[in-house]
């Protein structure tokens, strides 16, 4: 509900609209946007915000008499504390109707209790730790979960890529360990033999991958599955991969979609050709919805920066906001909003997506993406699609979502 008492402007505004169709008083829905506009993920946050604004521009007409304003706040470093303070401020001070954002998992985790307490819908634009939607009944995730991306690649590696033995390598922090656990679970269940699990340095360390890749080479697996946080370390990884001649040693590179993030792909250089990653979006996806989206993006923001999975996460988050505003006709109530999103389906640029009514998490395709040369630069070829993947972590009750879950109630 809009809490502000009707101001004296409202009758004037109605007068100004004139004696047209007698419609309900137009509501402006206030959406608090919490993203790290400064710091190491500043470019990602900007891309997500731009996508939200692009969706708004393209679909504004659908809102009818209502409107949406975004109140943007910078959550800075991934400490959780800043995002949480902003959540409280946006609720108490700016009296927002819903919240969108939360780039880093700790931002969402720290804010979850207050989202529940304040009874506000919170749409996650990123925050991929699998269990997060369990932390509050008002959290709906429009991005992906690390298990959703990784787990299906295990069976795929065994069955389709012939990986009898494999090693998983990950950046050594909680999200990385989550990915490693997901791969191990999926891969071993399908009968693969995981030879080693290598922590490849913390996120704050100098990203020298040489000793890790050397160790992998010496252990001679069929495949490696690698996760590094998007953008930051991938160029160095690609370079070292080539220097250490792992491909020549017959080792196949697999990884999460973070490694081949579209906007950073050119920086990997030819070293990354042939890499296979599993992800929920690539700008090179060959569907009409995506082509329309990418064209609109380039038209709005120029072609210097390619959209990537972060971009589409922002875009779809805004689509969800629109769906709620349209369904509730601008009168936002958290319980009704969540109800409206449960089971909601849409054809996103990333393909058909749906919000799982039970877990409030997204159900989406996972694409098997191969890095190829396209003209002068690198591109992605989708070689296979694993359709309608539900987050396996919550589905199976394993890993962080199982008995030992930090999210247990």
């Amino acid at each position: 509900m809009r809490k502000r008492s009707t101001s004296w402007i409202m009758p004037l505004a109605l007068l100004a609209i004139g004696a047209g169709a007698p419609q309900a008083a137009a509501d402006t829905v206030k959406v608090g946007v919490i993203l790290p506009f400064s710091g190491m993920a500043a470019d990602v946050a900007q891309s997500e915000l731009r996508a939200m604004k692009l969706y708004y521009k393209l679909h504004k007409a659908e809102l009818g008499g209502n409107d949406i304003t975004l109140i943007e706040r910078d959550s800075k470093e991934p400490s959780g504390a800043t995002a949480q303070t902003l959540t409280r401020e946006l609720v108490v001070q700016d009296k927002v109707d819903m919240l969108v954002g939360y780039q880093f998992s700790p931002d969402a985790i720290a804010s979850a209790p207050f989202i529940t307490q304040a009874k506000k819908l919170a749409i996650l634009v990123n925050a991929q730790s699998s269990y997060i939607p369990k932390l509050s009944p008002y959290i709906v995730r429009l991005s992906a979960s690390s298990w959703q991306i990784t787990y299906p690649m295990g069976p795929y590696a065994v069955d389709k890529l012939g990986c009898k033995t494999a090693i998983v390598g990950y950046t050594d922090f909680a999200p990385g360990r989550d990915v490693a656990a997901a791969f191990k679970a999926g891969y071993e269940k399908a009968g693969g033999k995981l030879v080693d699990s290598i922590a490849m340095g913390g996120p704050a360390q100098v990203p020298d991958f040489t000793p890790y890749l050397q160790r992998i080479k010496d252990e001679k697996p069929n495949c490696v599955y690698i996760f590094t946080p998007a953008a930051s370390f991938n160029a160095a990884l690609a370079r070292t991969w080539r220097d250490q001649k792992l491909a020549e040693a017959g080792i196949r590179f697999l990884g999460t979609g973070d490694v081949t993030q579209d906007s950073v792909l050119p920086q990997l250089g030819d070293n990354a050709i042939g890499w296979i990653t599993g992800g929920h979006y690539t700008a090179d996806l060959n569907t009409p919805e995506n082509k329309k989206f990418v064209a609109a993006w380039y038209k709005e923001y120029g072609d210097k920066v390619k959209p990537d999975f972060f971009t589409v996460q922002g875009y779809d988050a805004m689509a969800a906001v629109f769906h709620v505003v349209k369904t509730l006709k601008g009168k936002i109530d958290a319980d009704k909003a969540v109800a409206a999103l449960k089971g909601w389906k849409v054809n996103s640029p990333r393909g058909p997506i749906m919000i799982d009514a039970e877990t409030r998490d997204i159900i989406q395709n996972i694409y098997v993406q191969k890095v190829v040369k396209k003209g002068d630069s690198l591109g992605i070829e989708v070689i296979d699609t694993i359709p309608a993947v539900k987050d396996p972590c919550k589905e199976l009750g394993v890993g962080n979502c199982g008995a030992g879950s930090p999210a247990k109630k």
Partner: protein
């Protein structure tokens, strides 16, 4: 057995290549700290500048590798002179706290400028064909570029060492490191000496930064990422000693590399524990005066 030997060769080779990058980056800081007593936390920013300029010269201007590299190094060295004249001269005789703060400030500004100019995404460079090949060492193939880095590092060490021990300038620097007042009394123009040394140190940092681009990629965070390692090398080696910086780089580089190969999970602390241990036993560093 053969496997173990091969692993050991890899660890050593890659560790030494990594060490040489550290050495080139750290030696300038070691000398400037010993000579001027300035804690210069912005040293990493000069390394970062070297990296970005190399990227610009090679990528945007299309210069060949070696001239581009040399030009970037010279440019940073030259640019450091006005910076020394306007900023650093004001903190030579100030408390360490002021030095730490001012140079952290410079670092933050440099990071912001780099983010503005080049964006936060990692950048890379294209190596010339002769460095893209492989060389064999004790039965294992290694990238030629790493051999090149080792060559540059050893050359830099020999040149600096000879320059320090054999030239007039070196003698002046050594004298001033030992006792500035005495050197001044003996007619050494320390102001000019400081500027020269600072420029040399910054140019070396830039060389280290440029060499590292192809190993670890380049982002604006580079200025801070390497800083801690460089400080570790300087404090373990002792201030103002070329030999100390060289030995400490080798030690840290090889230990770090070996630790990460053999025991990846513990690699993060391993190096810090070594630092604490060394400094507690020898507070002035391995080659420093206690």
């Amino acid at each position: 057995m053969e496997h173990a030997v091969q692993a050991a060769v890899s660890i050593l080779f890659d560790g030494i290549a990594y060490s040489m990058v550290l050495f080139v980056m750290a030696v300038g800081l070691s000398v400037t700290m010993g000579l001027m007593g300035v804690i210069n936390l912005a040293h990493g920013a000069f390394a970062m500048a070297g990296g970005y300029l190399t990227v610009t010269f090679l990528g945007n201007l299309g210069l060949p590798f070696l001239p581009g590299l040399v030009l970037a190094v010279l440019a940073v060295g030259a640019a450091s002179i006005p910076i020394e004249h306007t900023l650093y001269v004001r903190i030579y005789n100030r408390p360490h706290l002021d030095q730490v703060l001012l140079t952290i400030g410079v670092t933050l500004m440099a990071i912001a400028v780099a983010t503005y100019a080049y964006g936060p995404s990692p950048l890379s460079i294209k190596l010339p064909a002769f460095l893209e090949t492989q060389v064999g060492v004790f039965g294992r193939d290694f990238p030629a570029y790493r051999a090149f880095i080792i060559g540059v590092g050893v050359l830099a060490f020999l040149a600096l060492w000879a320059g320090f021990e054999r030239t007039m300038l070196g003698a002046k620097i050594r004298a001033a490191v030992d006792n500035r007042a005495m050197a001044e009394a003996a007619g050494v123009n320390t102001t000019r000496l400081f500027t020269l040394t600072f420029a040399l140190g910054s140019a070396l940092a830039a060389l280290g930064g440029a060499l590292a681009v192809d190993l670890v990629g380049l982002t604006p965070r580079f200025a801070l990422q390497y800083l801690v390692l460089v400080l570790i090398v300087v404090s373990i080696g002792g201030f103002g000693t070329i030999m100390g910086a060289f030995a400490a780089s080798l030690m840290i580089g090889v230990i770090d590399n070996a630790g990460r190969y053999l025991y990846p999970e513990g690699s993060a602390f391993f190096i810090y524990l070594v630092v604490i241990l060394v400094l507690v036993v020898r507070p002035g560093g391995l080659f420093g005066r206690a």
